[in-house]
């Protein structure tokens, strides 16, 4: 064990300057390390109105109504953790590693410490984060909500999360990543390792709402066992400097299934490099990777990759991108790889403007041009994400209306 840690440390140290394969390279030295201590917040409702609104905008409900638990990380400090459902466990990653000897076999096992300088930094800082576990056969009736918030200017936040959904269990998680009002510059590095065991289901929704000068580098790997299901929804509709992420789902057990939905809007000055990858390592596994993106001036890169290594694998990759202004750009990069026979991988990619005949069809029913475009955008972004709170729905609605009007 000791030697394990030594070798991980060595590997991480060798990667502190290693640039990531994709995305703008952020100079880590320019950012101060986020504080590891903060005043605990007993009740999220006691937060000021501004902070509460910030939480709501990323799907985190301060009253905790309809949520089985809540967890808040402010910069690098866990500042709130509460739980009301016995069917789920929620605590900080550090606490969990102390409590469960077995957890070390899950920590830094999916995400490589030397993947790039961001993973290296997160490892070397011994970053904390959330640990969520659904014990075997347990189903939490409501989602657990977590929030990762940048609370200070020009700091780098490093987070390490581990999720374990045990055999036959079912868990919903809503994670909101955001910055406190006034924090316009910073860096968020988030490591997430997720384990979906035999016959288990994990429904993971992540909402990003950052600011103009924030760099975001999430690193996520998901391991799905036999008959397990992993569903991910990623939503990013607000301005941000740069998000680069390429979550990977490894389908390791027979009949494992995954679906990843990405919906994003790239504003002027934003670069969103959003990928999703599924690796079919077991027979009869299935994946659907759906990306619906819009640019209104920013650069959008939609990557998708499916690697079929086992018979009976079936996957569909869909990258659809709308370009609503001349300033923005869309780049769709679908990759399909089949390494054995009896595999069916397909992709559908389309980038371009909103079809005029669709707009006029709606106008012929009496809608104005803006209303028609709004309705089309709404439909375009609707990939059937469940469990989004009303406030966030309204927020999305407003963003779409603004987008349609701005055309």
């Amino acid at each position: 064990m000791q030697t394990d840690e030594v070798s991980l440390k060595k590997r991480a140290e060798s990667a502190t300057e290693k640039k990531a394969t994709f995305g703008e390279d952020f100079e880590l030295a320019k950012y101060e390390d986020g504080s590891k201590v903060s005043k605990p917040i007993e009740d999220l409702q006691t937060l000021d109105e501004e902070s509460k609104r910030t939480l709501l905008q990323v799907g985190v409900i301060p009253s905790e109504e309809g949520r089985s638990g809540s967890f808040l990380v402010l910069d690098n400090a866990v500042s709130h953790s509460s739980l009301k459902d016995e069917n789920v466990e929620l605590m900080s990653t550090h606490e969990a590693l102390e409590k469960y000897e077995w957890l070390k076999d899950y920590s830094w096992k999916l995400v490589q410490v030397d993947a790039d300088k961001y993973t290296a930094k997160t490892y070397l800082e011994n970053a904390d984060g959330y640990f969520i576990r659904a014990p075997a056969g347990k189903k939490s009736s409501m989602p657990v909500q977590t929030c990762l918030m940048l609370g200070s200017k020009k700091v780098s936040q490093t987070v390490h999360n581990i999720i374990v959904v045990e055999e036959g269990a079912s868990l919903d998680i809503i994670t909101g990543c955001t910055a406190k009002k006034g924090v316009e510059e910073g860096l968020h590095l988030g490591i997430s390792e997720m384990y979906v065991k035999k016959g288990a289901t994990l429904n993971f929704t992540m909402i990003h709402n950052w600011a103009e000068q924030i760099g975001v580098r999430p690193r996520t790997v998901v391991h799905v066992e036999e008959g397990g299901t992993y569903i991910s929804n990623y939503i990013c509709l607000k301005p941000v400097r740069s998000v680069q992420t390429y979550p990977t789902v490894m389908l390791e057990g027979k009949g494992a299934v995954t679906r990843l939905n990405t919906i994003a809007i790239a504003h002027l000055g934003s670069e969103l490099d959003l990928g999703s990858r599924a690796i079919f390592n077991a027979p009869n596994t299935r994946a659907e990777l759906i990306s619906r993106t819009i640019t209104i001036g920013g650069r959008l890169i939609a990557r998708g990759e499916m690697i079929g290594n086992a018979k009976g694998a079936k996957g569909h990759l869909e990258c659809k991108g709308l370009v609503l202004t001349d300033k923005g750009s869309q780049l769709a990069i679908p990759i399909l790889e089949a390494n054995v026979d009896d595999i069916e991988l397909t992709h559908e990619a389309a980038v371009g403007k909103i079809a005029k005949d669709q707009v006029e069809y709606l106008m012929a029913r009496g809608l104005t041009e803006e209303e028609a475009i709004g309705m089309i955008i709404r439909g375009f972004l609707d990939v059937g994400i469940r469990g989004i709170p009303e406030e966030l729905k309204n927020e999305i609605e407003n963003t779409i209306t603004q987008t349609a009007l701005g055309m």
Partner: protein, 247 residues
């Protein structure tokens, strides 16, 4: 109600319609006959205002107002409604939502859909994977919600099976007669319509007042629609072209 004067229309630089003159009087149901490729759909889509169709010459009057340069939505708001033959797939837009906005929230989509046996389509994406007959019923459902004063119906019976044709025909009849207490007052109080038909089947359900024959991008003649249909069935359109040439 609708008056088209000397209309010439091009698409991508190609003249599709030229010197078209046509009228739909208030409360009248007029029929547009013509062979494939004559420009019937193009004429209807031009009347609705689709931007692909560029008007080179002539004008379109609706209730006395020149609507030649009005955008599609303005025409819809003034009372024009179209049933398209090949509407675009509207991915992500549920039929229920479109029916709701078309009626400005005034009508219950469930109720309207019931009449057309379209309830199970309300939560499907508009036109996506719809069969020919389903498209017709979906278009009629949207029109029922929209409640226009002039219906532009592009081949309402094409692709509809024999059982559903009665449903489509009766629905159109119902829409055209809406708000009428006595059939005798049709011309004063009923809705107006311009209908494109090849088979004439729809004329079993609605009372047509006047027929126009469109060939090679222009109106060849007008007259009694049922007689015209009879002639076309017997002799085809070649006769019309020859007849026109002789004039």
């Amino acid at each position: 109600m609708l008056k088209i004067e000397d209309l010439t229309v091009e698409v991508n630089g190609k003249i599709l319609l030229h010197d078209v003159n046509l009228e739909v009087e208030k409360g009248y149901t007029n029929v547009l006959f013509g062979p494939n490729g004559a420009g019937k759909s193009a004429l209807m889509r031009t009347i609705m205002g689709f931007s692909e169709y560029r008007i080179v010459k002539g004008r379109i009057l609706f209730n006395g107002e020149d609507i030649t340069n009005l955008p599609v939505d303005e025409r819809a708001r003034r009372g024009l409604g179209i049933m398209m033959q090949r509407p675009p797939d509207m991915s992500g837009i549920k039929l229920r939502d479109l029916v709701k906005v078309a009626s400005k929230g005034k009508k219950d989509p469930e109720k309207l859909a019931e009449n057309l046996d379209m309830k199970r389509f309300l939560d499907r994406d508009v036109n996506v994977g719809f069969s020919g007959g389903e498209i017709k019923r979906s278009e009629l459902l949207q029109l029922a919600a929209q409640n226009p004063s002039l219906y532009l119906l592009d081949e309402p019976e094409s692709g509809v099976d024999l059982v559903s044709i009665e449903q489509v025909g009766m629905t159109i009849k119902g829409l055209l007669e809406e708000g009428m207490d006595c059939p005798g007052k049709r011309c004063k109080k009923g809705k107006s319509a311009l209908i494109i038909t090849h088979t004439g089947q729809v004329l079993d359900y609605v009372q047509a007042d006047k027929g126009y024959i469109l060939c090679n991008g222009t109106v060849m003649c007008s007259g009694n629609p049922l007689k015209m249909l009879e002639e076309i069935k017997n002799k085809g359109y070649q006769e019309c072209i020859t007849c026109r040439l002789m004039k």
